[in-house]
């Protein structure tokens, strides 16, 4: 990380930390929470889909794991209200380690087969969520004990938690990018067979980013569950969540540090605005589909890389 980069990061997060103290209406903070949440999800996805070049279509499953973990542990009692936040690192680590065998299977394949495997994992997770009723509550869902935060500032701890996770995702991205692991990943992304041929630890670095990515995604899912208070399987493990992460990453620019953040900053408010104006959630689908197709065809590199090239 260059000094300039560190200053940029500090300014960005500094400003975001101060925002809740300044804005009045509750809906603004609510919108910010979801924007920051998706920025974190997109940044986490970027590790696998951007830096490693493996487009995972199953990340929503990890989001769901984190959500259900928090829901199961904190069904009845959240202690001082911060207990769920304190368990997040454990949840993240557990998920990161648990996905290693899955990642190993999935990443033995090429990119298109990898996408099929990850989509299947998503379907498996969804099926389990609907059917393991004793664990997940099935279609009835599960509730989390409400947080004992004061009403006027209720959203703030959740906002800061999401912000912290976004910072974590970005810091880890920088750390990886600026290390030999990052160099190896860039080689893998560029020409995987040649990377094998010069002795790069291809499988190792792929597993590393997959685990980190899954862990962060799960932690974000945990905060989300705590925030919304009641989770249903079709929302906790929702292909649209994956599509959202992927789309934001593509829009802003894969394998860039700020691309996912930019993508989220554009799309989440747009999505909320459309939902508010036009109501029906089916339009989400059409909207997503349309934006996706436009990006693929017109702006395949995403905004930031296209701007850089134009310089």
């Amino acid at each position: 990380m260059t000094p300039a980069g560190a200053v940029r990061g500090a300014a960005f997060f500094g400003a975001l930390c101060v925002v809740p103290l300044l804005v009045g209406p509750q809906w603004v903070l609510n919108l910010l929470i979801f924007t920051v949440m998706y920025a974190g999800l997109a940044s986490a996805w970027n590790l696998v889909g951007g830096y490693a070049g493996y487009p995972s279509l199953g990340h929503a499953a990890f989001f769901g794991f984190g959500a259900y973990a928090v829901a199961i542990i904190f069904e009845n009692d959240v202690g001082d209200g911060y207990a769920p936040f304190r368990t997040l690192p454990i949840i993240g680590l557990v998920v990161a380690v648990a996905v290693l065998p899955v990642a190993w299977i999935a990443m033995r394949t090429r990119a298109d087969v990898f996408a099929i495997v990850t989509i299947t994992l998503l379907f498996i997770a969804q099926t389990l969520a609907f059917n393991l009723r004793s664990v997940t509550g099935g279609a009835q869902g599960r509730s989390i004990a409400p947080a004992p935060f004061p009403v006027e500032t209720y959203d703030r701890p959740f906002y800061y938690a999401m912000l912290a996770l976004l910072a974590l995702a970005m810091l880890l991205s920088v750390a990886i990018r600026d290390s030999k692991a990052g160099l190896s990943l860039a080689a893998v992304r560029s020409d995987e067979d040649k990377a094998h041929g010069v002795g790069v630890h291809v499988t190792g670095v792929k597993l590393l980013v997959f685990a980190v990515s899954a862990g962060i995604t799960a932690m974000i899912g945990g905060v989300w569950a705590y925030y919304v208070g009641f989770i249903y399987p079709q929302f906790a493990i929702d292909p649209l969540v994956t599509i959202g992460m992927v789309l934001m990453c593509f829009l802003g620019g894969r394998a860039t540090l700020w691309g996912p953040v930019l993508g989220a900053a554009i799309l989440v408010p747009a999505q909320q605005f459309l939902a508010y104006r036009l109501g029906a959630s089916q339009l989400y689908l059409l909207g997503y589909a349309a934006v996706f197709l436009i990006i693929m065809v017109l702006l395949p590199r995403g905004i930031l890389p296209t701007l850089r090239r134009a310089r």
Partner: protein, 292 residues
């Protein structure tokens, strides 16, 4: 014993319909090396079209095929032209997946707007009739659907083996570069191949509505099964897809009968992961290409 036999019959009949859907998907992969994640959505779209034709105009679902198949063929060609063809060559592999997923979502969105999310089914009156043969029940609709699938697959076979388009498709599947050198327009083959794939989804979709209740979100279930079938059969092999569809049809039916329908979904997932682990090219797929 009888339970097993019943399950097998059901599995065979269902497998036939899946074979039709899967044949189109594997064909698209063979021609373009694109995994068409919208195949399930095409089936559902066709089911809705059939539903409208039936409830609006009284057209029998089996006749509706004459309308939906060419319509979806055209849609397939259009989709290819609009969103797949513009992808730059290096990006095609990765992006095509996301693009076809986006198409699936778009179709789901349009259907949800047009028809809302209530489950529909096509009920012309004969959907519950069945024959009893040797103590075993054979649903009439399923048998007709199987027969239709067999006929369509035979038609597909004839197209692939006896027409110029079919020859061009097979050449492109086997060796795209040589085919190009021999004057086969790979773009046109890709477009027509995609159209053909969508057409098979159309035919299957018309009968799908008779067999199962559906709503716009049903494409997810379908695509997860189709992916297993296509991977098991070997991506790009139409014959393989047919064989795999029968295997999975019978297998999942037996699991549903002996255990429960929930676990029958699981058989698809388990088989998919197992194939990818043990023999990634499936039963009849081409060997994984070497590095050079």
């Amino acid at each position: 014993m009888q339970l097993a036999a019943q399950a097998i019959i059901l599995g065979v009949l269902t497998g036939g319909v899946y074979a039709l859907m899967a044949s189109g998907q594997t064909l698209i992969f063979g021609v373009m090396k694109v995994v068409n994640l919208a195949q399930g959505a095409f089936v559902v779209l066709s089911a809705y079209l059939t539903f409208s034709l039936f409830t609006g105009f009284g057209v029998d679902p089996f006749l509706a095929i004459l309308i939906t198949t060419p319509a979806m063929f055209g849609l397939g060609v259009a989709v290819h032209w609009l969103v797949l063809r513009p992808l730059k060559h290096e990006d095609v592999g990765q992006l095509s997946l996301l693009v076809t997923f986006a198409v699936a979502l778009g179709v789901e969105g349009v259907l949800a707007l047009a028809y809302e999310t209530t489950y529909r089914s096509v009920q012309p009156g004969y959907e519950n009739r069945s024959w009893t043969v040797a103590g075993l029940q054979i649903s009439e609709v399923r048998l007709y659907a199987f027969g239709l699938s067999a006929v369509m697959l035979a038609a597909l076979y004839l197209i692939l083996e006896r027409t110029r388009l079919g020859m061009a498709i097979r050449a492109t599947v086997q060796n795209p570069t040589s085919a190009r050198l021999l004057g086969v327009s790979s773009e046109r083959v890709a477009a027509l191949g995609f159209g053909l794939g969508a057409a098979t989804a159309a035919a299957a979709g018309s009968v799908y509505g008779l067999l199962y209740p559906f709503n716009p979100g049903s494409h997810y279930d379908l695509i997860s099964r189709l992916l297993t079938i296509v991977v098991l059969g070997g991506m790009g092999s139409v014959g393989g897809a047919v064989v795999a569809a029968m295997i999975m049809g019978v297998g999942s039916s037996i699991v549903a009968a002996l255990a429960s329908p929930i676990w029958s979904d699981f058989t698809f997932f388990v088989v998919l992961l197992a194939v990818l682990l043990i023999r990634p090219r499936g039963l009849f797929g081409a060997r994984a290409r070497g590095a050079l």
